[in-house]
């Protein structure tokens, strides 16, 4: 019978140290060694605010049947289209843990990544326990940055969070297939596949591809049995039923608006890793890969097949998988860890006659120390807090708006540095409209600022066009029905209930925009608008005469 010894053996001790280091140098540093923050912390792109605002909206609404109106440009019937698993899991975690959803979700993502690594470790251990230990140092490169593009660390700070949940379940798929001979293993497989479908659906497609590869592999090595096929079919059936409701939404939203199209893409603006980033590690991983291939020829283990598969899929941008392939590359430090383990294992054989777990643990910690020390010719870890786009002043403003304005009110934003990451505006929990930045600048330069100007009704519409349900299989799309002009066209600058003016900028050249903000605020005040909130950086005016001539008495 398998046992767990309470007395810490070398493996458990090593894992404890590894987890401590991972938490300290990963989320610990990113979060400035605090879990709870006064406002969304370490968020550096609009995408991350998208998730932060959505998780809070689901908490506020109590369910994710529909998107919140403040996420959907004011529409209250837009369907909840994003894979929901991550949000719901994070709400339960943060509610019980007494955290704000923005902290709870972010921590949940980091812990999911740690779980991915530990689960892959368990899988590699089935192949070789020493190689499993030696594989782990590479995973620290998840916190590395790249020189000329956004690197793996930005997968966290830019908010590629659902992809991490997809990776978690993709690795769990490997684990479930390793256990396919267990009695009733279809339950495990079904849970994992459902997790992929509702965690990050694009990984389900990769997962199904891997199952196909697995079946071919089993057939080739003459291990494919009827019972294995039966297990996969039953699991597929269960997970299909479990996921069906969301898969219908997926079909009429993501799959409809963003269908697969063949497009060879050699670079991306998403966080990723390129081969060149790996520098000297490329040679190490290359040697590890060759050794793994040699080993696979003798000992056809599924773990190795999985890593070969992940490596191939990460280059599928050349056959049309686009950004999904690049996201797999951002997770190379995990998917390719076994090759690193192979290289160290056989490299160490030159020094150590026979590897033991104790030696492997020591070697692994040494490698982690070298990575953290920032030795040249490997991707570097910044080892400093990530900071945040949000600040206390704006957060207080959003908090005031959601607590003090009418639910149907629209908030209009003049220029502000942070509003280009427009998903953060959703924290007002109101409909948000922002002045067209370029037109604002042109109007100021030409002295033609007037009452009617182009402005954007913000929301999460680019992805699925504000899809709404008329029936289970009958969908409409507000974006196409209303037309582009409704969202981006001319608006009456006197036609909104509240106006937000930033009083400062961190970009010296943009100071004239702030001066214009203040002049317009004065004009509005002259027209009778009242100041209802302000602090050092932001001013909010209330318009008591919506549609009146607020430009009559220019300041």
């Amino acid at each position: 019978m398998p046992s767990f010894r309470a007395d810490m053996d070398a493996e458990k001790a090593f894992l404890a140290v590894f987890i401590a280091l991972f938490l300290y140098f990963g989320p610990g540093i990113v979060f400035s060694h605090s879990i709870n923050h006064a406002y969304p912390w370490a968020i550096q792109a609009s995408d991350a605010f998208q998730h932060q605002a959505r998780v809070e909206s689901i908490k506020a609404m109590g369910n994710y049947y529909n998107e919140a109106s403040w996420i959907s440009a004011g529409f209250d019937d837009a369907v909840g289209f994003y894979p929901p698993l991550m949000y719901h899991a994070a709400i339960l975690f943060s509610n019980l843990g007494g955290m704000e959803t923005y902290d709870g979700l972010y921590l949940f993502v980091f812990l999911s990544v740690l779980l991915s690594i530990l689960l892959l470790y368990i899988c590699i251990k089935r192949f070789d326990s020493v190689i499993a230990i030696l594989s782990l140092p590479l995973t620290f490169l998840l916190f590395s940055v790249a020189e000329n593009h956004v690197g793996p660390l930005q997968s966290f700070t830019f908010g590629v969070w659902p992809a991490f949940i997809g990776h978690l379940f993709l690795i769990a798929l490997l684990w479930a297939l390793l256990n396919i001979e267990l009695e009733r293993s279809y339950i495990l497989l079904a849970l994992v596949m459902s997790g992929m479908a509702l965690g990050h659906t694009s990984e389900l497609i990769i997962g199904i591809l891997f199952i196909a590869v697995y079946l071919v592999f089993e057939y080739v090595i003459r291990q494919l049995s009827v019972s294995k096929l039966k297990t996969i079919i039953i699991a597929g059936g269960i997970s299909f039923l479990v996921s069906l409701y969301y898969l219908i939404i997926f079909k009429y939203t993501w799959a409809y608006v963003q269908p697969f199209k063949f497009e060879v893409q050699s670079t991306t603006s998403d966080p990723t890793l390129y081969l060149a980033d790996l520098s000297i590690l490329l040679a190490v991983l290359g040697i590890g890969l060759i050794l793994a291939i040699i080993s696979f020829a003798k000992k056809r283990h599924l773990v190795l097949l999985f890593s070969f598969f992940a490596l191939l899929v990460s280059f599928s941008n050349y056959i049309g998988f686009g950004r999904h392939a690049f996201r797999i590359r951002a997770f190379w430090p995990v998917y390719l860890a076994v090759f690193f383990g192979f290289a160290l294992y056989y490299g160490g054989k030159l020094l150590v006659k026979e590897w033991k777990e104790l030696y492997a643990g020591a070697a692994s910690l040494l490698m982690i120390a070298l990575i953290l020390a920032g030795i040249p010719l490997i991707p570097q870890l910044p080892l400093e807090p990530a900071g945040s786009i949000m600040d206390q002043y704006h957060w207080d403003m959003f908090d005031w708006i959601k607590s003090n304005t009418e639910k149907e009110a629209t908030i209009f934003y003049f220029y502000g540095d942070i509003y280009q990451h427009n998903a953060l505006l959703r924290n007002s929990e109101r409909r948000n409209v922002e002045i067209n930045r370029n037109e604002y600048i042109e109007a100021l330069q030409s002295g033609n600022l007037n009452r009617f100007m182009n402005a954007t009704i913000h929301g999460d519409g680019g992805g699925v066009w504000y899809a709404y349900r008329d029936g289970l299989f009958d969908y409409g799309y507000h974006l196409t029905e209303k037309g582009r002009d409704y969202f981006y066209g001319q608006k009456d600058l006197c036609g909104f209930e509240y106006y937000v003016f930033d009083k400062g900028t961190s970009i010296q050249q943009l100071q004239p925009l702030i001066e214009a903000n203040m002049a317009i605020a004065q004009t509005y005040a002259n027209a009778g608008m009242e100041g209802v909130f302000q602090n050092e950086v932001v001013l909010v005016l209330k318009n008591n005469n919506v549609g009146g001539d607020c430009f009559a008495q220019k300041a």
């Binding site: 398998p2 401590a20 719901h88 339960l92 779980l115 997790g195 409701y245």
Partner: protein, 124 residues
């Protein structure tokens, strides 16, 4: 009878291991998040265990003879995330407010998982 005693012994033993795992996680999290109060860290770790680890561990207890403790606690947590996340989504749509689920839902999953494994556990 003998099976019952062996099961009880194993459950007790694994209860101790779980406790060790909780304490270890609190210590490791406190090291990483040293600016956070120990009470907060402990609360957050316990919440993670209650919401994801225990439900997943309960699901995998059915295979306790085949999978060792470490594997069950790690893989079980992943399964716990799947079960809790998915069921919370559907139950929310069916009318059970997500804000009322954080204690009852994990408890329900634990009870259901143990209940479904009971027949097998009895024969251990």
């Amino acid at each position: 009878m003998l099976g019952g005693i062996a099961l009880l012994k194993k459950l007790k033993q694994e209860g101790v291991y779980l406790l060790i795992a909780v304490i270890a996680c609190i210590v490791l999290m406190k090291i990483a998040f040293y600016n956070e109060s120990t009470v907060n860290v402990a609360g957050i770790v316990l919440s993670f265990f209650f919401v994801f680890v225990l439900p997943g561990f309960a699901i995998l207890i059915y295979w306790h003879e085949k999978l060792d403790f470490l594997e069950r606690i790690i893989a079980g947590t992943v399964l716990g995330i799947a079960v809790i996340g998915i069921s919370s989504y559907y139950l929310g749509i069916l009318g059970w407010n997500v804000n009322g689920q954080h204690v009852a839902l994990p408890l329900l999953v634990i009870i259901l998982a143990l209940g479904l494994s009971w027949k097998r556990l009895k024969t251990y």
